[in-house]
């Protein structure tokens, strides 16, 4: 019964999102596109933080790396082919995750936070301070990649992602796919093992689980999905700069996950929605006048309030209002 109810909610939300471009103004359609991209990013981090127990402060490295791969691989004045550049970007992210994962996963706790941060900052300076990276000004991507259909044996023009509504639906489809994919993965043997590792890694090893390999796989999967988000973001804005690799960005996505509720996929996605929409609303001068300049203060206070009052984030609100007793609360 509960499963059916939650599926119904999910379907309703997706449907509402799908019809939004028919009523929303261009500005808001593009804003929600950005939000959905960040939702993919937040869900990818939640796999690591909420389900594997690894708090990373360098997740933007994957996001930015994929964006830069697109920027570098795209021809100067024509559209790149999505069928080649997207797999390339994801592979680079997976490879980067494999390389760094072999090192960072030897640490845990605070050290893991520091080492992931260090790797992300290394990448930041690589793109910030070298001619290869384009420096602090960033790199422009003049045309969005195309989805060429003739590859699939279908006739007709490529799907026009330059159209903001088409791009919106494209992002929505990928966000839904990422969500369903992760849900499936988390319910598999692999996912259950990850949750076991998060809960008690020593016990998992005593049971015979090679936990390092599981963590590495989770790290790679998470990094690759973050790369998908980064690729889409670079596509949307037509521009990449070192900021998207920076620790501000890593911290932002971590706040989305905490705001929405660690260890809950829809929570992470919800966190991205609320975080960005709050940011948008609080910095709106028409609503808050002079106070809008200090939107970060207001946002900070809201996040502190959520962290204090809702230990399970916004996703925990559903539990507050349901009458089902939460047995696992008091340990």
């Amino acid at each position: 019964m509960r499963l059916r109810a939650s599926s119904l909610v999910l379907l309703t939300v997706l449907l509402m999102l799908a019809v939004f471009p028919t009523v929303g103004e261009q500005y808001y359609v593009q804003l929600i596109s950005k939000v959905m991209i960040m939702a993919i990013f937040a869900m990818s981090l939640d796999l690591l933080v909420g389900y594997t127990g690894l708090v990373s402060l360098g997740h933007a490295a994957f996001f930015g790396l994929a964006g830069y791969v697109l920027a570098k691989a795209a021809p100067q004045y024509e559209a790149a082919n999505l069928w080649t550049t997207l797999p390339l970007a994801l592979s680079v992210c997976a490879a980067f995750a494999l390389l760094t994962g072999l090192l960072v996963l030897r640490t845990s706790g605070v050290y893991f936070i520091m080492v992931t941060l260090a790797f992300a900052q290394m990448l930041f300076f690589l793109f910030h301070d070298t001619p290869f990276g384009g420096g602090s000004d960033g790199v422009y991507i003049y045309a969005k990649p195309e989805i060429k259909l003739n590859w699939l044996g279908l006739a007709g023009n490529p799907i026009n992602l330059e159209n903001f509504k088409v791009f919106y639906e494209f992002v929505l489809a990928l966000m839904a796919a990422a969500y369903l994919f992760l849900r499936r993965v988390l319910d598999s043997n692999f996912g259950r093992a990850l949750i076991g590792i998060k809960t008690n890694e020593q016990r998992m090893r005593a049971l015979g689980f090679p936990t390092f390999r599981y963590k590495l796989a989770s790290y790679m999967l998470s990094g690759t999905l973050a790369g998908l988000a980064g690729y889409l973001a670079a596509m949307q804005f037509g521009f990449v700069s070192p900021e998207i690799l920076g620790w501000h960005h890593s911290g932002g996505v971590l706040m989305m996950v905490i705001l929405g509720g660690m260890g809950s996929l829809h929570g992470a996605a919800l966190g991205a929605f609320v975080f960005i929409l709050l940011q948008e609303a609080l910095s709106n001068q028409a609503w808050f006048g002079a106070a809008a300049k200090h939107w970060q203060l207001a946002l900070g206070l809201i996040i502190i309030a959520v962290a204090l009052l809702l230990p399970r984030g916004l996703a925990g609100l559903a539990g507050v209002f349901s009458c089902k007793p939460r047995e696992d609360e008091d340990e």
């Binding site: 319910d187 043997n189 692999f190 005593a206 015979g208």
Partner: protein, 259 residues
Amino acid sequence: MSEAVLRAENLCKRFGGLAAVNDVSLELHIGQVHALIGPNGAGKSTLTNLLSGDLPPTSGAIHYRDADQVGHELAGMHSDCIARFGIGRSYQKTNVFLPFSVFENCRLAAQSRQPRAWRIFRGADHYADVNALAERALAAVDLGARRDLLAAALSHGEQRQLEIAMCLATQPRVLLLDEPLAGMGRQESQTIIELIRRLAPDHAILLIEHDMDAVFAVAHCLTVMVNGEVIASGAPEEVRASPLVQQAYLGDEHGGRHG
């Protein structure tokens, strides 16, 4: 007697200047319950941790003979490799997954032996063999009726039973049981003692236990440790009669309770 399945040779573990385990040698055989007793702080749990790979030994060797009679050296191996060889352990301090259901605790344990870890699209609950193993392990410790409760909701004694069930669900050949009866009621203890008896014929069991009645009821072999060293080892009755043991352990500390 058959050749030992697990043979520890001159195991040492030092923490700084303290020798928690000092030059201990020990054999486990299939079909035998080997009890390990000694006062608190004697190094029994540390020895278990060395055998299971939770701690690396400072020196010494651990030889293991697998089901195909192939020999392996376990000293220095990680605990997950040792566990996959078929050496299961339970913890003295209850170490179960509290937020999971009782069944999921055992299912996860049984899953550890499945070679299908990377099938990421099939629901974890759809492996009939894994589920059956988990159910059987729960039934063996008499927890079948509690399967859908959260582990956190179990009583302390029941959590101890679950601890053993998880170990069983991995189908080990060698069982390292660290004070399995601690904190259990009389009836639960009886269930576990019966279970150890039932398992003994085709398992090698190391039993660390303070309950002397239980030890003498099931042990084929008894080793006494004091201050990290073995002071006596052999048939239970002989060891019990040894004056050294009487003085160092049974006589002094626990004589009143069991004498």
